[in-house]
């Protein structure tokens, strides 16, 4: 009977194309508006590394100002100092650990005819690549010795490798950054963690950096920093050495802890470290170290912005308004079919048969609305991109999950909208209609 009902639904839709089109349009507009905001929220709240997000922990140490406004809840700063980052790295208490920060350097192409250009870089450690499971197209990451020995090595993104080396295997070749030569040890494949969880202090919806270089090399040669730096008191002196020794936070620190036991041990280690630092006059506030896994950290940093949530709520309300319109239109459509329905009742159709038939018709209208709604969603996302520019470039794509969600939501919406009109329709007393036909 399902195929029969599909046929009847199609005939009914075709018999009144204008009314059907209005219903499809009403659902499509509602779906387009709501799915645009749902997609943005979905991308914002996406788990960027689901296979191990519960084993990666962002470290916060509370070295902050004891006289800061209590209304901030004495939240520890969202980055760590150079002193603490190096202490934690050197201790090596976690299964893997990474201190990193963002930077920007000038890349000088080999060909003298090509002009130098700026590249986004990340200063990091060997563990970065296995810890965040970065995919490699060629070669791999550097090893611990490279970190220790200040080797001038780099890992390139696929995009920059295409730009500089035409996409060829560039492992072993050299790139010149800020006047220093670096040997390529690896080229990443496509890698777009969204949000860019490993550093949300800069734009969390940005693409990963183009070049990765050893943190120690960047510090040794005082390569410029490009990320956020926050200080609660001035450095004791001028110059980079004084900055390194200051209470300024500018480094993101991640630890890979494979189970609860490792997490507890690491927290004990952090607490012991801070207690020790307190004896040296640092960490004036009460002990308040934090270990948040990836999703906890995303939540803590409010990656899904409040505005986006409000917009999603409003767009869902708009969908409800569209559905109310659809209910009215469906009621008008179905009420015009009372003669048809009465005849079917006389010929042996049960109320449940007619209910199913009309719900399938409503579902088909929903399907049409869903398909058109996906188109409108893509248009809406494009509009957001045009409006807000590159900041949201990576937020405004629809994957298959969202496409299917849009269509599913449209069908569900149409079925909900169809409930009342269908119920009213099948309640008609057939006798009253058959004589007046």
């Amino acid at each position: 009977m399902f195929r029969y009902y599909l046929k009847l639904g199609w005939l009914s839709i075709r018999s009144n194309p204008l009314l059907s089109l209005l219903m499809v349009a009403a659902i499509a507009v509602g779906i387009g508006a709501s799915m645009t905001t749902i997609t943005v929220n979905y991308t914002m709240s996406n788990n960027p590394i689901p296979q191990k997000s519960d084993q990666l922990f962002y470290v916060q140490l509370d070295n902050w100002d004891p006289n800061s406004d209590p209304e901030d809840g004495f939240e520890p700063p969202d980055q760590v100092t150079y002193t603490d980052a190096m202490a934690l790295m050197n201790a090596g208490k976690a299964f893997r650990q990474v201190a990193s920060n963002r930077s920007g350097l000038v890349l000088e192409p080999e060909n003298p005819d090509e002009r130098p250009f700026m590249v986004d870089t990340r200063n990091t450690w060997a563990d970065f690549f296995p810890m965040f499971e970065t995919p490699f197209l060629y070669g791999g990451g550097w090893d611990d010795n490279a970190d220790k020995n200040l080797e001038q090595v780099v890992v390139l993104s696929r995009e920059i490798n295409e730009q500089v080396f035409g996409g060829e295997d560039s492992v072993g070749k050299s790139v010149r950054l800020n006047g220093m030569d670096f040997r390529v040890v690896g080229v990443l494949d496509e890698w777009l963690p969204m949000p860019k969880f490993y550093d949300v202090t800069n734009n969390p919806f940005d693409v990963p950096e183009e070049i990765f270089i050893p943190f120690n090399v960047a510090v040794e040669y005082e390569l410029p920093r490009n990320g956020n730096t926050n200080c609660w008191k001035p450095s004791d002196g001028d110059g980079f050495e004084a900055f390194k020794a200051s209470e300024c936070v500018w480094i993101q620190f991640w630890a890979e802890l494979r189970n609860e036991s490792e997490k507890q041990e690491y927290m004990q280690f952090l607490n012991a470290y801070v207690e020790e630092q307190k004896t040296l006059g640092r960490f004036p506030r009460p002990l308040n170290n934090r270990l948040d896994d990836v999703m906890e950290w995303m939540e803590h940093e409010e990656i899904v912005e409040e505005d986006a949530r409000v917009m999603m709520g409003l767009s869902l309300l708009f969908l409800v308004v569209c559905l109310l319109n659809t209910i009215g239109l469906l009621l008008a459509k179905f009420m015009r079919k009372t003669g048809d329905i009465s005849v079917r009742r006389a010929l042996g159709a049960r109320k449940s048969d007619l209910f199913t038939q009309h719900m399938i018709e409503a579902g088909m209208i929903g399907l049409g609305g869903g398909v058109l709604g996906v188109g409108l969603t893509l248009l809406g996302l494009k509009g957001i991109e045009v409006l807000f520019g590159e900041f949201v470039e990576n937020l405004v794509g629809m994957d298959w999950v969202m496409v299917m969600t849009a269509i599913g939501l449209a069908i569900l919406s149409a079925l909900l909208a169809g409930l009342y009109p269908t119920w009213q329709t099948v309640r008609i007393m057939p006798a009253s209609q058959l004589k007046t036909q």
Binding site: R344, L347, M429
Partner: protein, 233 residues
């Protein structure tokens, strides 16, 4: 086979009660052709609707094949209608979006027949009414007489025991009306019980029995005198 015992039907609004049928009692035997006549508003159509289980009555008892059908569920009533009763209406009541073949197919779908069985029955009944060549036509492409033939084919496709006809020739000219009546007669001759509501005495005279309704009651029920004369001669 059809027994109506003291059936009453009252339509109520906030302030008015209308008695469509009062203590309506009638038996219809297997294979009969009963013509129901009476003035407008006498209750003819209400009786036919109750007989076809399209309306629930407010009092009395209705036995169909010896079974009390007054308290059947919607699904049971629908099944009885589908399997035992065929309807022919004055306005034909064909579904305009469906072609002739699909119109006749409607009751068979609800019966649950497979495709081959449905095809066999549709072709057979359309042949009976002489419309095999019009299977793919829409109702709007047929004359009134042809549409009524399709309606009869649809009523017969499920091989019902009873055919209920409400003014089946009311929208047709006299020539077409006679053609339809001949078809109905032949259906009755093949064993189908027919109850036909009409206001036309000439058509009523073609039935075995005439039942006259007045003010919601059976005022007269007698064998057709013409047929009785023929039988006597």
């Amino acid at each position: 086979m059809l027994r109506f015992e003291n059936i009453s039907m009252v339509y109520r609004t906030d302030s008015v009660e209308t008695h469509a049928l009062r203590e309506f009692t009638l038996d219809v035997e297997e294979g009969e052709f009963v013509a129901v006549t009476g003035p407008s508003g006498s209750g003819k159509t209400t009786f036919l609707n109750i007989a076809g289980l399209l309306e629930r009555f407010t009092g009395g008892r209705y036995l169909l094949d010896g079974k009390d059908v007054s308290s059947l569920s919607d699904a049971e009533t629908s099944r009885v209608r589908n399997e035992k009763i065929g309807f022919v209406f004055q306005g034909f009541n064909l579904i305009p979006d469906l072609n002739i073949y699909d119109n006749v197919d409607v009751p068979l779908r609800y019966r649950g027949f497979n495709g081959a069985e449905r095809k066999r029955r549709i072709e057979s009944t359309l042949e009976t009414v002489g419309l095999t060549s019009r299977m793919k036509h829409l109702p709007s492409q047929l004359s009134g007489g042809q549409q009524q033939r399709v309606a009869i084919a649809r009523a017969l496709a499920g091989n019902p025991r009873f055919l209920l006809a409400d003014e089946p020739t009311g929208n047709l000219d006299s020539k077409m009306a006679m053609s339809i009546m001949e078809l109905i007669n032949s259906i009755n001759m093949s064993g189908t019980t027919i109850i036909m509501v009409t206001h036309d005495d000439n058509l009523a005279s073609m039935a075995n029995r005439n039942v006259h309704i007045r003010d919601g009651r059976v005022s007269d029920s007698s064998a057709n005198p013409q047929l009785a004369e023929v039988a006597t001669a």
